[in-house]
Symmetry: C2
Subunit: 337 residues, 2 copies
């Protein structure tokens, strides 16, 4: 199993990947890396690996970097020797099995789409991420990719892809798939959503449970939530924002009085436990699915732990053969329509 | 100041309004109510008021009720003697100054639009609510009304209306208004959002600060966030969902071990303080703005406290003359375009 890792994209610099590389190499004896990036950081990372790990790490020196402000179209046209593009190329050429990058999401989606192409029957790749619920089970939300042109068929494809990913990676036999709407009653929502509702309900491979609202998607009663890329992106970020707000309120309250400060010392283990459960790091590693290859997007501001989870996500998808399984279902289901 | 109160809409039954009615009548000596609802609950509420309060409460017996499953079009056509419709009629006829209802949002929006009409220059009313931020200042989010057909001009109107509401009710001299998007860079977002961005930036009455993302809207760096009704509804509910999730995690953690249970007894005041700060009750009372009258929507599941805040919201808007001020700005700004 070979993973192409674009080490240049993150906000914290390439070194943030080093502990994740070490840990993944130790955990998976059949794993090797192709690290793509500029000469200096590649050398630094390589020099800090043990000899046995070095033998499983290949370096690919690139002359360009896609930064956070690069337009996707510019990245596509002008940054052909960027670490992101080179990493994707290795997957296309069959040198690597999967690509992990924490770079500019828009550029990664555009490049991955261009380089790897979508599975036949899929109009565009979707960005999907896991979120916590009130039960211990995660919920997958897709599309998060900020795509703005979509139709009922794309939502159907997201339903199929989300369902396959949940089955294969989280091991849920028959994931409950819901469509995000502004009400759970049939009368709510616009015509495009209603059309998607009809299409998904007719799809035999999907265990479709109907509409879900923004609040009930965290109830643990559904496993996959389907929406368009704009709404999904806003819902994800609004959730992140409010979670941070609650945590900051807790911190503020525990500092207010001497009694609160004393109590907060005692509650430190509880707060840590809360933080662990809500820990955004575990929910790092948004997958780009629907492509003829495995691509995982790590958060731009990902910590060392978060980088590890992103690589683990790619390894899970690879070992479960997610793209192949999506291809099979799509052929069975969608090509008939 | 006369408020028409539809006592029939809420999930908890009409009695939930009783403490709010008492408290508001005690707090505001110039306030009176027109209570609209079925005979029995009206009588029950009335019988529980003191004599001096009874003299400021008028009863309007209605034969119909709009329930949560009624389609807006059905409510409009067939429920002309519903408590919701009668309450709105009293505002139209000048008998009452404002209407408060915790009934079916879609029906209330449709009826209010039909009965009261919009301010000239406003294409449709918007539903707006306040949310907490990391600073102590609230942020207004609009539209939450789940409306699906919108254009750049509607977003501009929301910007103006949100700005006026924040100025008048929260007393912010020059509210910072932002447009919700999937990125803060100019390159992000679709053409409709870009068009709205241009229109709002040219509007002199609005202190426009550009794009904001789903997470940064809770930062306290903006006062008003403008978006379409579908996205706004999802963002609001996703935020409510994640806030509930965090609170439930805290509860679960504090019950896990004997040490945690002990500590949680000590931290009870802190948790209560957190709950107070995040208290959804205070953020109850979504306003329907852009109408030729004041209408406040209380949450269907509103508690006694929440009902009080919804009525207080209507009182604030009335005493600040929000509809008149929106009308003035719209005449100045929008009629020129």
């Amino acid at each position: 199993m070979i993973i192409a890792l674009d080490i240049m994209g993150g906000d914290r610099g390439p070194h943030v990947f080093l502990p994740a590389i070490k840990r993944c190499l130790s955990d998976h004896s059949d794993l090797s890396f192709i690290l793509c990036g500029e000469q200096d950081p590649l050398n630094t990372i390589f020099s800090k690996l043990s000899q046995s790990h070095q033998s499983r790490v290949h370096l690919r020196v690139c002359s360009q970097v896609v930064d956070m402000h690069t337009k996707p179209t510019t990245a596509l046209r002008k940054l052909k020797d960027s670490s992101m593009r080179v990493a994707l190329n290795t997957v296309k050429e069959g040198e690597a099995d999967a690509c992990v990058s924490s770079g500019n999401t828009g550029a990664l989606m555009a490049m991955a789409y261009y380089v790897l192409k979508t599975i036949p029957g899929i109009s565009r790749p979707a960005l999907v991420s896991a979120l916590p619920t009130v039960t211990k089970q995660k919920v997958l939300l897709l599309d998060l990719g900020a795509s703005i042109n979509y139709d009922a068929e794309s939502l159907l494809q997201y339903a199929v892809m989300g369902s396959v990913l949940m089955q294969q990676v989280e091991g849920i036999a028959s994931p409950r798939v819901a469509l995000l709407n502004v009400g759970e009653e049939d009368i709510k929502g616009h015509s495009l959503i209603k059309h998607a509702d009809l299409l998904i309900s007719q799809c035999e491979s999907v265990n479709y449970v109907g509409y879900v609202e923004g609040d009930t998607m965290f109830s643990g009663n559904v496993d996959v939530v389907v929406t368009d890329g704009f709404t999904g992106n806003v819902a994800l970020k609004a959730s992140e924002g409010i979670a941070k707000l609650v945590i900051s309120e807790i911190k503020a309250i525990t500092q207010e009085t001497w009694f609160a400060r004393l109590i907060s010392k005692l509650t430190l283990p509880l707060l840590k436990s809360l933080y662990q459960r809500m820990n955004p790091d575990q929910y790092n590693g948004a997958s780009l699915i629907g492509l003829r290859g495995t691509v995982v997007k790590s958060h731009g501001n990902a910590s060392e732990d978060a980088c590890f989870y992103a690589i683990e996500q790619a390894i899970s998808e690879l070992s479960q053969g997610v793209p192949e399984k999506i291809k099979t279902i799509i052929e069975q289901e969608l090509m008939e329509h």
